[in-house]
């Protein structure tokens, strides 16, 4: 049996082992490569920088725990960015499974760093079913859709919400999503209420949202862990996304090497000729 025949029939467990090593090795031997900034990430950063200090913003946790690795660095960095500008932050989620809990944990952890107080500097509205109605309804009154916050405290008892009625008082929305809810934020909230909006999404969803950046409906876009790493670099808060770049680099290179190897064996063994005949 030739080398190429052996390569063709390689046990998939060897592939799994190689991927496993590619994931583990960069954590043991970290190597830092320069991370270039794409225009889409720069645009998002610049748009947030241009917001007036102490304005009100929304950070939307529309992702499941399965994509924490890609999405959480975005929300964390955004919170650092907003609180450096002393913004008031409203968090909410259209994801029933974990969104409000992740918002609660992440915001409270970063709030401690900046001495922010719940109810005065940030509020977690939690989750409400039927996101189309939620997004549209908040355009008239946030309190009518979310009468209480995530812990059940009436919004009327939360000082920060005294002056916030609907989207008119919200200067910016940062939507972090691993699903199609970002489409609805664009078509309902940006298109109908004109609120400036930025988006962070998983790498697999990012190509779709270039269309909304092109149309100006998103002021910028963070695509996957690379986008999150770029944003961390811009904000100057290197975190898990920058560390994750080493892992992602090796896994991408491994997959590319495997694809090249597979194609060489495909042609060397003449399978393309058999297919044609």
């Amino acid at each position: 049996m030739s080398f190429w025949e052996k390569a063709e029939q390689i046990d998939r467990r060897w592939v799994y082992l190689m991927v496993g090593l590619a994931v583990i090795v960069p954590f043991i031997v970290p190597a830092e490569f320069p991370i270039s900034i794409t225009p889409e990430s720069r645009m998002l950063y610049d748009a947030i920088e241009e917001l007036p200090d102490s304005c009100t913003v929304m950070v939307v946790f529309d992702y499941y725990p399965s994509t924490i690795a890609e999405c959480e660095p975005m929300t964390r960095t955004a919170l650092h960015h907003f609180w450096r500008k002393d913004c008031k932050v409203i968090t909410l989620s259209n994801i029933p499974l974990g969104g409000p809990s992740m918002a609660e944990s992440v915001t409270r952890e970063i709030a401690r760093e900046y001495g922010k107080v719940y109810g005065e500097d940030f509020v977690n509205l939690g989750y409400k079913a039927n996101y189309v109605a939620v997004l549209s309804g908040m355009g008239t009154s946030i309190e009518s859709i979310f009468p209480t916050d995530n812990s059940g405290t009436p919004l009327s008892e939360i000082p920060m919400m005294d002056s916030i009625v609907n989207y008119e008082q919200v200067s910016f929305i940062f939507e972090v999503a691993d699903n199609a809810t970002a489409d609805y934020w664009v078509s309902i909230v940006n298109a109908q209420y004109g609120v400036p909006m930025g988006c962070g999404t998983t790498a697999v969803s990012a190509p779709k949202y270039y269309a909304f950046v092109g149309s100006g409906q998103f002021v910028g876009l963070l695509g996957g862990m690379k986008g999150a790493a770029e944003y961390e670099m811009l904000v100057g808060k290197k975190g898990k996304a920058v560390i994750g770049m080493g892992v992602q680099s090796l896994v991408h290179l491994l997959i590319i090497a495997l694809v090249i190897l597979g194609n060489i064996s495909y042609f060397v063994l003449g399978k393309h000729k058999r297919r044609l005949s």
């Binding site: 998939r12 592939v15 799994y16 190689m18 991927v19 490569f33 320069p34 270039s36 794409t38 225009p39 725990p65 399965s66 924490i68 690795a69 029933p96 974990g98 409000p100 809990s101 992740m102 609660e104 944990s105 409400k128 079913a129 039927n130 189309v132 109605a133 939620v134 309804g137 008239t140 009154s141 859709i145 995530n150 812990s151 059940g152 078509s187 190509p207 779709k208 270039y210 269309a211 092109g214 695509g223 996957g224 690379k226 770049m245 992602q248 680099s249 090796l250 896994v251 991408h252 290179l253 491994l254 997959i255 590319i256 495997l258 694809v259 190897l261 597979g262 194609n263 495909y266 297919r275």
Partner: protein, 220 residues
């Protein structure tokens, strides 16, 4: 009548009300009806979640009761649902273990069981993708060759090591990829898909409002 005419009537009236209200200001009569409908929609949405819980409980409980194959897993499903749901529903004022705040049973189960399990499930995709790419991603036709080459250079561009490699070649390949692949070909195709899907959704909504489309009621 209750099974067909009433649901069609409700769909028609709700759809028309929401559609018409789009053209009215919020502080008008039509605007206020629309806002009430949106609040109702969130309440109905909550009940659909409850319906899901009832349904999954019934199906799994029957399997456990009749000792069907894999009944142990179904029992685990039921235990998991209620172990997370009941402490989360009970008011936090009764005990710090109830509710959904940090320190509650729900929050502990979510942080230390649910979240890592979901992340692990998703992470295993990397292993399958690597294996599948090795076996199936072949330059069989001209189209698949274009896809393969584009995917390879975009994958290289999206990681620092790959980008450093691409920068060894003349002609600023990363900028070319961002301008002509992502913001060129990709953007144009995505726009086509988005517009097509939106037109499809609009026509389907109209069919439902007018009662032509009844498959959502189990009718042909």
């Amino acid at each position: 009548m209750l099974k067909t005419t009433v649901p069609v009537g409700v769909a028609f009236l709700s759809g028309i009300a929401l559609m018409v209200s789009f053209f009215f200001r919020e502080n008008t009569f039509v605007g206020s009806i629309s806002q009430d409908l949106k609040i109702w929609l969130t309440i109905v949405g909550g009940f659909t979640l409850l319906l899901g819980v009832v349904s999954i409980t019934r199906v799994n409980w029957q399997a456990v009761k009749n000792r069907k194959e894999g009944w142990g897993y179904k029992l685990l499903t039921l235990v998991s649902i209620f172990a997370m749901a009941i402490p989360a529903i009970l008011p936090a004022s009764w005990s710090p273990l109830f509710g959904r705040n940090p320190g509650s049973i729900y929050h502990w189960l979510f942080t230390y069981l649910d979240s890592p399990m979901m992340a692990t499930m998703f992470a295993t995709l990397a292993f399958y993708i690597a294996s599948a790419a090795y076996r199936a991603f072949r330059a069989r036709t001209a189209e698949s060759t274009i896809l393969l080459l584009t995917a390879t250079v975009v994958m290289l561009w999206r990681v620092p090591m790959g980008e450093a490699f691409l920068n060894l070649f003349p002609g600023n390949i990363p900028e070319f990829l961002n301008t002509y692949v992502m913001n060129g070909a990709n953007l144009a195709v995505q726009r086509g898909i988005i517009i097509g899907a939106a037109l499809g959704a609009a026509s389907m909504s109209l069919r439902i409002i007018l009662g032509i489309e009844r498959t959502y009621m189990g009718k042909g």
